[in-house]
Symmetry: C2
Subunit: 284 residues, 2 copies
């Protein structure tokens, strides 16, 4: 309501193929409540995971271009598949606007690098993300070994709303038991577990209870928000201090398919009501 | 190998958005082993369930046209979403070729009508099929009441390969308990349960153990194959008798995305090896 004191608020564009990226937006809002946000869920074209690299790059750059046209000054790619397979293409679009891009795979790997003493890391992710070996590759260039486990039932369990549910606990136990056994077989000494899917932060408590206490769980939503805040505070013109006493937490939501479904599912991920979602057509 | 005795074998086109329809093909092969089959899985554009009616109709008619161009003389729509939302559009394309079309929703409702004494029917299906109320509508015109239950975890459990698995048994129990309680609340006296998704025949044994013995389970793959055989035997030129001593079981498989994934998942649904899958581009 009040007029800007030291310039306008930074506008952060957040992109995911669906509503999962709202866990990243939630963490961003907690970390930088003064910023303005534009969230795009490309729900008409999900899931990205089963599509070819060329198609994913085309979808992701189109989505990034939309956020840039809406005035985004910083882009967070809260979609594991797009981060894994199309980050160079997204960066080349954003470069034309002079806008930095942060992807969830690199932030998860950065956090693992900072966290791990043993340099052996476990990753839980969707089948598509595991098949891309994006986390293993990002870990390798940081001097870490990574063992990835596809956990295809966790997204449907979260979307069914079975968060603190005995079935979900059992499924998490089964996946983690298999992952820890594979780690032992491979003579891994893991001390870090990366949640490599934006749906998994909702299962963080269940997962934490299922891993040995020596293994730290990295919530990629939280670490992405923290790294975005650090980067933004270093960029002239987007400095945190310039936000002054602005009113905060303004978010505009866009989806490419059913806004009702986006609202219904999305509120669970965001942890707060979603007032309005605008339908946007990005083509086939 | 042998030459046709009484004319060439009938060619049956089977269409689904993915590999689930292979349970219907499996039942068709058991019912009519002498026929030739052309199976198309529109895997590049799945899931259909989250898309608009206009988009589904466009995808489904394009897929049907492909099967007709390949010489299909009879079409089985083994996709619940396309059967529910685009059967008139598919029929209008097939009519131009003089080809009959059978959809899995109508065959499930036909079987329920023939089976049920109480005229109260339960339906387990995906969220998209339940939201369309296609089974309830098809049951109503046949003088049946239907109570539908969305079971979104069953498809991922089947695709994970957890068929005879304690987690799957527990999930089936939870869904059926809720469905039977809803039936009691609505003063329903159900004696029939329709499996309204082509993935569910793989869970038939688990589901049968979880329902009261008085409730008969209708496997929509089996009843679709039986009704297709009955229709085909009534159509001049496609008569079963004309198949004579032909070699049987010839199937050509087509998919619009990753043929490897189609083979890997598909063999589980078909219950036999899949030698070759051809990639076909039906556009965006």
């Amino acid at each position: 309501m009040s007029a800007p004191l030291f310039g306008s608020r930074v506008k952060i564009g957040v992109f995911d193929s669906g509503v999962g990226g709202l866990t990243v937006l939630r963490a961003l809002l907690a970390e930088m409540p003064q910023a303005e946000y534009i969230y795009l869920g490309d729900t008409a074209r999900l899931p990205y995971g089963s599509k070819s690299q060329a198609t994913i790059a085309r979808y992701a750059t189109g989505s990034a271009a939309f956020l840039l046209e809406q005035g985004a000054q910083y882009l967070v790619i809260a979609c594991n598949t797009a981060s894994a397979l199309a980050l160079p293409e997204i960066r080349s679009v954003a470069d034309r606007f002079g806008v930095p891009v942060l992807g969830v795979v690199e932030t998860g790997a950065n956090a693992a690098e900072a966290q791990s003493q043993t340099k052996d890391v476990l990753v839980m992710a969707t089948a598509a993300t595991v098949a891309s070996h994006a986390y293993a590759d990002a870990c390798r260039v940081r001097g870490l070994r990574a063992l990835e486990m596809a956990c295809p039932l966790l997204v449907p369990l979260v979307e069914e709303g079975w968060i603190e549910h005995p079935v979900t606990e059992e499924v998490v136990d089964i996946y983690l038991h298999a992952l820890l056994r594979a780690a032992a077989d491979a003579h891994f000494s893991p001390d870090t577990l990366v949640l490599g899917c934006t749906h998994y932060p909702l299962l963080k408590d269940v997962i934490r209870r299922a891993v040995p206490v020596a293994v730290k769980v990295i919530d990629s939503a939280e670490v992405t928000a923290r790294q975005a805040a650090e980067q933004i505070s270093d960029i002239p013109g987007l400095r945190l201090e310039t936000w002054g006493t602005q009113d905060g937490g303004a978010v505009r939501f866009f989806a490419t398919d059913s806004v009702e479904k986006f609202k219904f599912l999305g509120e669970r991920f965001l942890g707060m009501p979603i007032e309005q979602v605008q339908l946007v057509d990005l083509g086939g």
